[in-house]
């Protein structure tokens, strides 16, 4: 449940019970680091006991001061403290204020709270939901801005906080208050340190003694329970437990065996995978080698084709030359044969001439013989010399005799 309260003079809020609250901003007294950055607000009883409703309500006060259209949030100035900050020329505007005002402004700056604007600037007021905290359950809380949300330690109360912690000092008509509390609501103010101390002392209470107490109680109760237990039931339970134990052990063994089998399968699968990878690599290498061989074979065949092509060309050229040569030989043969015919004819003629000359020779020889016989032996040399005119060789005695005997007619033919 969330209360939205617009702060301002005489602002009235309602708690979760619907009770009218009159609060003032300075009544913030405690901030707890575990309270989700909420501020506990003391509730001050209000004279009238009117309960408006159970629903959270807000009365919006009328603005009585100069309106400011934008909400302003007090920022944490700790980031600038101790820093060296540069300033542009004329980077500041001076204003003179009374010392009290300056102190008030400074105090607000140190609180770093959301300072409500007079115009619609809202501050969420929530009831405390964490009852384990020190804040009373009915106490409304006011959300704070970031610096308080990050606050991790106890909050150091400002001066006015202490004042507000004393409800007696507040009246139902307090000037400069933002809220007033209803009278019937009790003031709940529990010092944090006290609570912490109590909590710590509780935690530090003798743990050992407490544990001993608990042990004794547990043992006694167990003893009583043991006495009440039937032994047969215990045995039956023990047997069941044994069976369950055996089944568990068997199941565990089976699990182990299955696990081993799985491991074996995984291992063999792994080995197969490795083998497969190796085979794949070998296959890839073989494919590469095959490709290389194929390429080499193609190159070799190409070279052989070129060589054979060259040889074929050469052979064709040689064949052509041979054909030409054969034709020439044939022509030459014809000519030779023709020459042969001519020679045979010449030979026949020569033979005929020879025969004719042979007859003439005989005739001359005969005539010579006749002359020799007529002229005597002394003239024989003349016959021989005459014979040399007819033949290229010196005639033998036989030839000479034959010349003397044969053919005086042939000489006539020669003549």
């Amino acid at each position: 449940m969330t209360y939205t309260v617009k702060l301002g003079p005489d602002t009235v809020g309602y708690n979760e019970n619907g009770n009218k609250l009159k609060l003032r901003e300075s009544s913030f007294i405690n901030v707890f680091k575990n309270s989700n950055a909420m501020i506990k607000v003391n509730e001050v009883p209000v004279q009238d006991n009117s309960v408006v409703s159970n629903e959270p309500k807000v009365e919006v006060p009328k603005a009585t001061t100069p309106s400011i259209n934008s909400k302003r949030v007090i920022k944490d100035a700790s980031g600038l403290v101790g820093q060296l900050v540069t300033m542009t020329s004329n980077g500041r505007k001076p204003v003179k204020i009374k010392p009290a005002v300056a102190q008030a402004v400074a105090r607000v700056g140190q609180k770093s709270l959301v300072v409500p604007s007079v115009s619609p600037a809202n501050v969420e007021v929530k009831p405390v939901q964490n009852t384990s905290s020190v804040v009373a359950s009915s106490a409304p809380t006011v959300e704070v801005v970031e610096p308080f949300k990050n606050h991790t330690g106890d909050f150091t109360h400002s001066e006015e906080t202490d004042v507000i912690e004393e409800p007696k000092s507040m009246t139902s008509k307090v000037d400069n208050t933002l809220f007033e509390e209803l009278p019937e609501e009790p003031t709940i103010s529990i010092p944090v340190e006290e609570i912490k101390r109590a909590s710590t002392s509780m935690r530090n209470e003798s743990v050992t003694s407490h544990a001993e107490k608990v042990d004794t109680q547990v043992v006694d109760s167990l003893k009583a329970e043991v006495k009440a237990v039937n032994l047969d039931d215990v045995r039956e339970m023990q047997e069941k437990l044994d069976e369950v134990g055996k089944a568990t052990i068997e199941a565990k063994q089976r699990v182990v065996e299955t696990q081993n089998q799985i491991n074996d399968v995984l291992k063999s699968t792994e080995d197969e995978k490795k083998n497969l990878e190796k085979l794949n690599k070998d296959q890839e290498a073989a494919v590469q080698r095959s490709e290389m061989l194929k390429q080499k074979t193609c190159d070799f065949l190409q070279q052989q084709m070129e060589v054979l092509e060259r040889k074929k060309t050469t052979y064709f050229e040689q064949l052509s030359d041979c054909e030409v040569t054969l034709e020439q030989v044939r022509e030459e043969k014809k000519q030779v044969e023709m020459e042969k015919g001519k020679k045979q004819i010449e030979y026949q003629r020569a033979q005929e001439d020879y025969e004719a000359w042979s007859e003439l020779h005989k005739a001359i020889t005969n005539r010579a013989a006749e002359f020799d016989s007529q002229l005597g032996q002394d003239d024989a040399s003349k016959v021989v010399s005459f014979r040399d005119l007819v033949t290229d060789k010196t005639p033998s005695l036989e030839d000479t005799m034959q010349l003397e005997i044969n053919e005086p007619v042939s000489i006539k033919k020669l003549a």
Binding site: T65, V73, K75, A77, P94, K96, A102, V105, N176
Partner: protein
């Protein structure tokens, strides 16, 4: 308040130690302002406080001037409001 001191480096290189009174930011403009004082008092006992705009655009805070009168009016209203709200 001694632990809320800040050093301002002026344009001429001089440094001033000032006391931070309050920082606030307008929700609509998201402009952040700082109110600080050098604890100077005049004859009437009034304290001079200074207001600058905090520029954190480059990561390092820098104090810039108030840009216009409207802004200055709003800042003065805030100061008045703060002084009242603290009572």
């Amino acid at each position: 308040m001694d632990n809320r001191m800040m050093t301002i480096m002026m344009d001429d290189g001089t440094q001033e130690k000032v006391e931070i009174l309050v920082c606030f930011e307008f929700d609509d403009t998201k402009k952040e302002y700082i109110v600080y004082t050098k604890n100077e008092t005049d004859a009437s006992g009034n304290i001079t406080v200074y207001v600058s705009r905090v520029n954190r655009e480059n990561g390092t805070p820098k104090l810039d001037a108030i840009e216009n009168d409207e802004e200055w009016t709003k800042i003065k209203d805030v100061l008045r409001e703060l002084s009242k709200s603290d009572k």
